[in-house]
């Protein structure tokens, strides 16, 4: 196993004279200010600069797993994920370049090739983050062979179902169940290409001893993997607004 050398961030020395905790940097040649400790993604969003994300969700811990939010930083050879990289004084960030666009499209191609994402017959058609990203990033076709895994649908829960064909392993369900609901019903079994989300000891969801039926996992799922039963495609809109709200409430409690 290779341990790559520690990359070092170019440190600016013009921090003197700035108000405490506020720093300035450039994103796509725009001067922006930020609070110390904020991530590149947060600062970009405050300034309406688009960086694509899939595993990231405001209100949950960040993973840096989908790699769609990779950005270029001047003076750093590696691409870094915007969702977990804190801003630094005088950092120069590029969120959009030919190279980034190419990588992002390829990452989407890989996700589409991994499982059976048939948008036309998906319950989330029209409300799917993956579908929207493909359109937004101009991924019009997949050049790699589809893997066509044989995956199951678990509809044993009385109100929800999970279709593994649509899962992108973003782990939002795992995180929301652990971090917000506190049940930790979900996790991921196996590893690599064989990884699957599971409930409890890989039991049918309906037989889970720990699931509270709160539906948070369904609401945060970016695709049609987790859905509510009995809803039509038009109705299957996900509501994630509760997350930042819950976070604020919990912080206030403390």
């Amino acid at each position: 196993m290779t341990i790559p050398a520690y990359p070092t961030f170019p440190r600016g020395d013009s921090e003197l004279g700035k108000p405490v905790g506020i720093l300035t940097l450039k994103i796509d040649d725009r001067d922006v200010s930020a609070r110390r400790g904020e991530t590149i993604l947060e600062v970009a969003r405050e300034n309406d600069i688009f960086i694509p994300t899939l595993c990231y969700l405001e209100g949950l811990s960040s993973l840096g797993a989908c790699r769609l939010c990779l950005v270029e930083i001047k003076g750093v050879t590696k691409l870094l994920p915007a969702c977990v990289t804190p801003v630094r004084q005088d950092m120069e960030v590029v969120t959009d370049s030919e190279r980034l666009r190419r990588y992002r499209r390829m990452i989407l191609e890989l996700i589409f090739s991994e499982r059976n994402h048939v948008c036309s017959v998906c319950v989330s058609n029209g409300h799917c983050e993956l579908q929207t990203l493909a359109q937004k990033l101009g991924m019009t076709h997949v050049r790699f062979d589809y893997l066509y895994p044989r995956l199951a649908i678990d509809a044993s829960h009385e109100r929800f179902s999970i279709d593994h064909n649509r899962c992108v392993l973003c782990m939002r369900c795992v995180r929301v169940c652990d971090e917000i609901e506190g049940a930790h019903t979900w996790d991921i079994m196996h590893r690599g290409i064989s990884a699957r989300v599971i409930t409890d000891l890989n039991q049918p969801w309906g037989e889970s001893e720990t699931c509270t039926g709160c539906s948070k996992c369904v609401q945060v799922c970016p695709t049609g993997a987790l859905s509510e039963k009995g809803k039509s495609v038009a109705e299957m809109v996900k509501h994630k607004e509760f997350l930042p709200y819950l976070q604020i409430m919990r912080r206030n409690e403390r």
């Binding site: 996790d187 196996h190 409930t199």
Partner: protein, 176 residues
């Protein structure tokens, strides 16, 4: 109320059974040494597998409960690490080393022959529970490639024929 009593006494039985059984005492000892902290999970699973040969569902539940680790996390850890097995091993085990040195010296050929002879894939056990076929990443016997472990005994410079000979003896044992 009756049902509740029954459940309670069952749980009691379960605990005392585990306290009486020397095998479970080994497992409990590991957990106690680590102060029943969740971070003892992997060490505990090692002991369960070492004691029982594999990780049974009931054992996973028991460990989850005792260490206060979510069930799904226990299952995740037990399947993430390839050293752990959720299925009982066969009576005999044939481990074919697929390390680089063994691979370029013909390990793939040995593995191929074994699959043909046993009609199973690597990681599986024959239907009669007699023989498990396993691959190893590297046994560290690269100097003696290709290496095969037959029931715990490392054999170097192996050929398909030599391994088959042992396999056939095992098969004869099982049917005899």
């Amino acid at each position: 109320m009756e049902a509740l009593k029954e459940t309670a006494s069952k749980a009691q039985d379960e605990t005392s059974k585990r306290a009486d059984d020397p095998r479970w005492r080994r497992v409990n000892r590991v957990m106690r040494l680590h102060g029943y902290r969740p971070n003892a999970l992997i060490e505990t699973l090692h002991m369960v597998q070492d004691t029982f040969g594999f990780l049974e569902m009931e054992a996973l539940k028991y460990v989850a409960k005792t260490l206060q680790v979510p069930l799904s996390r226990v299952y995740a850890v037990a399947t993430f690490y390839h050293f752990f097995s959720l299925k009982p091993p066969g009576k005999h085990t044939c481990v074919v080393c697929m390390g680089t040195a063994c691979y370029i010296s013909g390990a793939a050929e040995i593995m191929h022959e074994m699959q043909e002879a046993l009609h199973i894939e690597p990681g599986e056990t024959t239907a009669d529970g007699a023989i498990s076929l396993v691959t190893a990443r590297c046994l560290g016997s690269c100097g003696l490639a290709p290496a095969v472990v037959l029931d715990g005994e490392i054999k170097g410079k192996m050929t398909p024929a030599a391994v088959l000979e042992t396999i056939e003896r095992w098969q004869a044992d099982a049917s005899g």
